[in-house]
């Protein structure tokens, strides 16, 4: 057993590894705090600039993305919650609907979470979606950015997504258990150990298992673009991992209700796209033209929903 006391350690003799750890944690804090939890949308050229003096492979991959219509990026703070935060933002932005989401608290309860540990988090998410629905389309971005930059709102939503991920894993344990390993030791973990240590704990980064589980729990298509600096021989300079939970018979909604849900749920027509760099996730956004088209398609339904919401009140 040993301790590093951050207040008293300064001025004492430190081992090289302690100095490294200290530097690393200071560096992390410094880079983290300067960035909003969710930043505003910027052209991907901002990211390119950061790599221009570095790896050509990264620059080539960014150029490839730009050529293929991925012209903007919305960055998330690198605090271990970036995947959940980026995905939540993109989800609420593309899919401000409670039809499916409102069924998920029952899933959490069914795997044994007490209502009191998650209901406040759920209410924050539900409240935000209702406020987004009530806003005209052009005002939503401002509302969402300010919500996701507010730590209490933002972290509550992140926490709900973590618990939803955990609940999905726990309720489908046999499907996932062969793939659950301790990220550091490589030892096989059971679903409870994995969820407690690597999903529910705050600030723990998500890996492929968590991403797969959350896309299935939310029934949303997710594309993850890997900006990994690898040079590929094929035409595709950037690898995309595509998650399509609704095409998977084990996780898709039951066939009998599919037809009914398709008509009532505003199914996102395009996947949520995340940009992965080693250890970090941001939101990748397609160019204005594609975006405008997407907006027009969704607008009629959104207006209807907003109206329906008003009537309910």
């Amino acid at each position: 057993m040993s301790t590093t006391n951050t207040e008293s350690v300064l001025g004492q003799e430190l081992t090289p590894s302690q100095i490294y750890d200290l530097n690393q944690s200071l560096l992390n804090e410094a880079t983290d705090v300067s960035r909003p939890l969710i930043d505003s949308l910027v052209p991907i050229s901002h990211l390119r600039k950061e790599y221009e003096n570095g790896s050509k492979a990264f620059v080539d991959q960014i150029d490839w993305l730009t050529e293929h219509g991925y012209t903007h990026i919305r960055r998330a703070r690198g605090d271990g919650d970036c995947f959940y935060r980026a995905l939540s933002f993109a989800y609420v932005e593309k899919y401000p609907d409670l039809t499916h989401l409102s069924t998920t608290p029952n899933l959490l309860e069914s795997v044994g979470f007490q209502r009191l540990v998650f209901e406040d988090f759920y209410e924050v998410l539900e409240d935000l979606i209702k406020r987004v629905q009530a806003e005209p389309e052009e005002m939503r971005e401002v509302l969402m950015e300010s919500a996701f930059q507010n730590p209490e709102v933002s972290n509550s939503i992140v926490m709900y997504m973590r618990l939803l991920t955990s609940s999905h894993l726990r309720s489908h344990a046999p499907s996932y258990e062969p793939f659950l390993f301790h990220p550091e030791t490589g030892l096989q973990l059971d679903v409870r150990e994995f969820c407690e240590g690597w999903v529910e704990a705050t600030g723990r980064e998500a890996d492929h298992v968590q991403i797969t589980a959350l896309s299935r729990a939310l029934l949303i298509d997710v594309d993850v673009a890997y900006l990994d600096g690898r040079v590929r021989s094929s035409e595709e300079k950037v690898e995309f991992v595509k998650l399509r939970p609704r095409e998977d018979p084990e996780f898709a909604p039951p066939a009998t209700t599919t037809e009914a849900t398709e008509t009532t749920i505003k199914t996102p027509t395009e996947p949520i796209v995340l940009l992965y760099r080693p250890g970090h996730y941001d939101i990748l956004v397609q160019g204005e033209k594609e975006k405008e088209r997407g907006v027009q398609e969704g607008e009629g339904q959104a207006a209807e929903e907003a109206q329906a919401h008003e009537e309910k009140k």
Partner: protein
């Protein structure tokens, strides 16, 4: 609207009052949403038979996203249990209070975990670096970065 922190703590407190605490755990005081005290005793056979310890929880406005600061009270004649994970100033080295904290843990769940940490103790001794740690320890145990390198005790 009340903050998430006070909403959550209000619910936890209501549950404690309506359903009571698990055996061996008792609420001493919870007059606000910043600091609560409990007593804990280990039931059955253990190295701490007949001992009663006082646990203090301090909550910041980010609770339950951020962990509570939990320690044994060592003032006015109260003592911290002698345990390889408990420093003589009352600070506790437990991963669930640090990097494995999750909001799914409630105050009562933390008490139960610490109670079983004491119950399973085989060797009543202080952490090896107790004196060095206590000399420099910050007031708030959350400011300490513990290394959880021993899961066996």
């Amino acid at each position: 609207m009340a903050s998430i922190s006070s909403r959550r703590l209000a619910k936890e407190l209501a549950e404690i009052h309506s359903e009571g605490c698990p055996v061996g755990i008792n609420l001493v005081k919870a007059d606000d949403f910043t600091c609560w005290w409990f007593t804990i005793e280990v039931m059955g056979e253990s190295l701490y038979q007949g001992d009663k310890f006082t646990l203090q929880f301090r909550f910041d406005p980010q609770y339950p996203i951020s962990s509570p600061a939990v320690q044994f009270v060592v003032t006015e004649g109260r003592q911290a249990p002698i345990h390889p994970h408990v420093y003589s100033n009352g600070h506790i080295c437990a991963s669930i209070l640090g990097n494995e904290w999750s909001p799914v843990l409630s105050v009562v769940a933390v008490c139960v975990t610490l109670q079983s940490m004491l119950a399973s103790c085989k060797d009543k001794q202080r952490p090896v670096d107790n004196d060095r740690y206590v000399r420099h320890a910050p007031d708030n145990p959350k400011k300490t970065q513990f290394h959880y390198d021993d899961d066996t005790v």
